[in-house]
Amino acid sequence: MIFKTIDKKDFNKFLEILIENNSFFAPQKIAKDKNNKPIYDLRLVNDFKEIDFNYDILKYPPRRFFLPYREAISSFEIKNSSWQQNINYETKVPRILLGLHPCDINSLNKLDKVLMLGDYPSPYYTIRRKNTFIIGMDCDPKPFCFCRSVGTHTVQHGCDMFLIDIGDRYFIEIFSNVAFDFLKKVTTKDITKKDDDEYKRIRRLKAEKFTAKIDVTDLTKILDMEFQSDVWKEWGDKCLGCGSCARVCPTCYCYGIEEKIDLKFQQAEKLKILHACTLIDFAEVAGGFNFRPERHIRLKYRYYHKHRGFVEAYEESLCVGCGRCGEACLAGITVPEVISSIRE
């Protein structure tokens, strides 16, 4: 990997030009939560001054830039008994996302495996993924972050460049050719022994800050053994089956298709709308039979998919340990608590 350092002043100028030339999304304060703490999220910025570098975490995952909550995937023009299908694979201009944390970048890598690298790659996802330039940024672990337990606290690939704040400069990990060519146009420096030491010190400090964790040793087997455990019923009684966890999860990708037809029966639209495995109709089939009729069964399925099934298929967990689901859960159910209750 190629490393460089850049003065913050120079980097800010670099961002100004990027903003001018591209459609650029960066962290902004968008609202306040019930405790009067600011909520940050990615928003389109037109001016460098609009970027809020003091953001702690992004409230919502960057998933929506690749998997929007609702999108029309095709439409039909119906005439008499015949019809014509129009497919709209998105061909928007490229865009830049600034400020993604390692958990978010890793979440995209996991989505890639399902939506881009396997059989039947999705053009909707692939086009957006290939045309999004990602500038990642290092973070300060929060009390609910357990990414270190699932190995997603560092970035191996999946973004174009990654920034680590080392005082008056940024330490840059360069991942893509495009990023390298861009940086050639501004003043950067090769890393020195001192930068190297500072990098290691900062990484070590970060590793010490994690408080929340889950133990994934033999978790696939333990989940199998505890499949009939009463613990699931206890969590199921708490769970409201509202799907909030899936709304904020950076790796949830399940969806449903809905078709809408106009009153004249001439225009129909096929909508892809993200779903959630904890909602009651997730596995209901025609005739009314439901494969997962109860809340605890759906909650259990959620954990089985994230922590067992995906591990079996891809040798890594689908959970990136961002802790957003625990923060969003109206019943206060958190992943570390559920996992440790299963292990007991």
Binding site: N22, I78, P123, K130, Y253, F265, A268, F282, A283, V311
Partner: protein, 303 residues
């Protein structure tokens, strides 16, 4: 200084390396959402609830390319109403023409039942795994279906009929709740009269006209004598049936790896994307719908 990103035309890049325009596609980005226009060429009313739709792909090139194996499914699009997964019930040797046995049940199927001959629908597929008929060569074959399960099994029945000499003895077993729920009754005579095929039917609640066997499908095993060391079985039916039938077959001495079941799940895409048919992390649409029973035993909540 110009730092603008160039648009990457993923679709044309993909087209350069892949041959486009195929129904049986796995890597063709541009045809991901494309549904092939097809015409309903015939409708056979099987029972008050079920109709058999004969469907032909309109485009001639695509019709020639279209092929499937017994046990696979396709996604049928009724524009404006929805897209549904359906097992293919016709013979795999017929190209470009499929027969789909459809029960009037949900929004799409209720509308389908009102459709007339000549109406056009869309076809995507075929998808999923198939019954490994080639593995059954020189063995006895048990084809077991309950209720609507015969719809998925029928293409395998066609296969054994057309390749009769490939297999030893063939037993078709079919059970329903009521006699009037029996599907494809007009074909039973042909099956019975084919050399080496034995057909057994059974119902749970007989009416006055019924003169055949009464009971559960597992009762049929008392009637047959098979060499279990060289027998393969396919089981299609409601989830509750799998457990009883497959465990019975296992007790008789057939290894679980030699039994194949077809699972039913909710599906919205058929291509391993929507996640709705997931069992654990196994997609019924990609790794299934046909699974061997050993795999099913290792999937939590599969049956």
């Amino acid at each position: 200084m110009d730092l603008s990103l160039k648009y990457q035309d993923v679709l044309s890049d993909n087209k350069k390396i892949k041959t486009g325009g195929r129904l049986n596609r796995k890597t063709d980005l541009g045809n991901f959402e494309k549904t092939y226009k097809s015409e309903i060429t015939g409708i056979i009313e099987l029972t008050p609830l079920e109709k058999l739709f004969q469907i032909q792909i309109i485009d001639q090139d695509e019709r020639e390319r279209f092929s499937f194996k017994p046990g696979q499914f396709l996604m049928l699009e009724v524009p404006g109403f929805g897209e549904i997964p359906l097992s293919i019930s016709s013979s795999p040797s017929r190209r470009g023409v499929v027969e789909l046995c459809i029960r009037k049940q949900g929004r799409v199927t209720k509308f389908l039942h009102k459709m007339q001959r000549g109406a056009s629908v869309g076809i995507k597929g075929p998808f999923g795994t198939h019954f490994p008929m080639e593995k059954f060569a020189n063995a006895n074959v048990l084809l077991i279906a309950g209720g609507l399960g015969l719809a998925a099994l029928r293409s395998a029945i066609y296969y054994v009929e057309e390749n009769r000499n490939m297999f030893k003895d063939i037993f078709i077993m079919y059970g329903t709740n009521d006699p009037n729920q029996m599907l494809f009754t007009y074909q039973y005579e042909t099956w019975k009269k084919t050399d080496g095929i034995k057909l057994f039917t059974i119902v749970q609640n007989p009416d006055k006209k019924w003169s055949g066997r009464v009971g559960l499908i597992t009762d049929l095993f008392n009637e047959i004598v098979i060499d279990t060391s060289n027998t393969h079985a396919i089981v299609c039916g409601p989830p509750v049936m799998f457990k009883f039938v497959c465990n019975k077959l296992n007790d008789l001495g057939i290894p679980m790896e030699n039994m194949f079941v077809s699972l039913e799940r909710r599906m919205h895409c058929g291509m391993g994307k929507c996640c709705r048919c997931n069992v654990g992390s196994t997609y019924t649409c990609l790794s299934g719908p046909v699974f061997d029973y050993w795999t099913v035993m290792n999937l939590k909540e599969a049956i």
